[in-house]
Assembly symmetry: C2
Homo-oligomer: 138 residues x 2
């Protein structure tokens, strides 16, 4: 079994209903809704939204010590138009814009927004990366 793998990405959220509304407005389809979290199935892994107080308790830390922003999650798109549309949809769903999609130094086209809890998402078109039909890296 390779070490190069991640099976679960958990984002701590202050208000599950608010976060579900945000992600599901963007088209994420929930797989299972539990008392303290929601799972979204992806290819070979899952994303979870998890109550912030619960994560803090699991970690034995105070909720206010859990920060955000030193990590980004990204969705790549085949075209700049789809990148713009994804960014606009996020802003419309309540995201905070950090940078409007634009040409960037590495040769692609990229924008960044923060979700309702400050988790950072990049939307990008990378001319050097090929996507398969499912939108995964080929």
């Amino acid at each position: 079994m390779t070490s190069n793998r991640i099976t679960l990405i958990s984002l701590s959220v202050a208000d599950i209903a608010r976060s579900r509304a945000f992600y599901e407005t963007l088209g994420w389809v929930p797989e299972a809704v539990l008392e303290n979290g929601v799972f979204y199935a992806m290819a070979g892994q899952k994303m979870m939204l998890y109550r912030r107080e619960k994560l803090a308790k699991d970690l034995g830390r105070a909720p206010e010590t859990l920060g955000t922003g030193a990590m980004t999650l990204a969705q790549n798109f085949p075209t700049t138009q789809e990148t713009d549309a994804a960014y606009a949809a996020a802003i419309s769903a309540g995201a905070t814009g950090l940078s409007v999609p634009q040409k960037v130094f590495w040769g692609g086209y990229s924008g960044v927004y923060a979700d309702p809890d400050g988790h950072l998402w990049e939307v990008a078109m990378n001319p050097f990366w090929e996507l398969d039909d499912r939108g995964l890296l080929a």
Copy 2:
């Protein structure tokens, strides 16, 4: 193209050499090494270690405002023994232990450690989740 997808997970790091040593000691195999970052290919997506100052600059924020800890990444294993071994390997490679692998409330077996920059990794055996040969969720 489904919304349920993530193509890139970027972890900001203070010292790329230190972080490469940590992850590569744990068996991660780099795909490309660039000036400000390193890519690790996974199934359909990539993980990147990216210089903290560079991410801060990209975001227009001060590096010290980029926090960690409100998100976890997880690797699942088929057995508690492999979970213990993964945790021990991480500690041996310089991780900070947050909780030694143990039976947890949701019915599985789980431990949490922090990488050299404070990014949180869970190692777990989940009896309700099936893994394929690649270690991805079946």
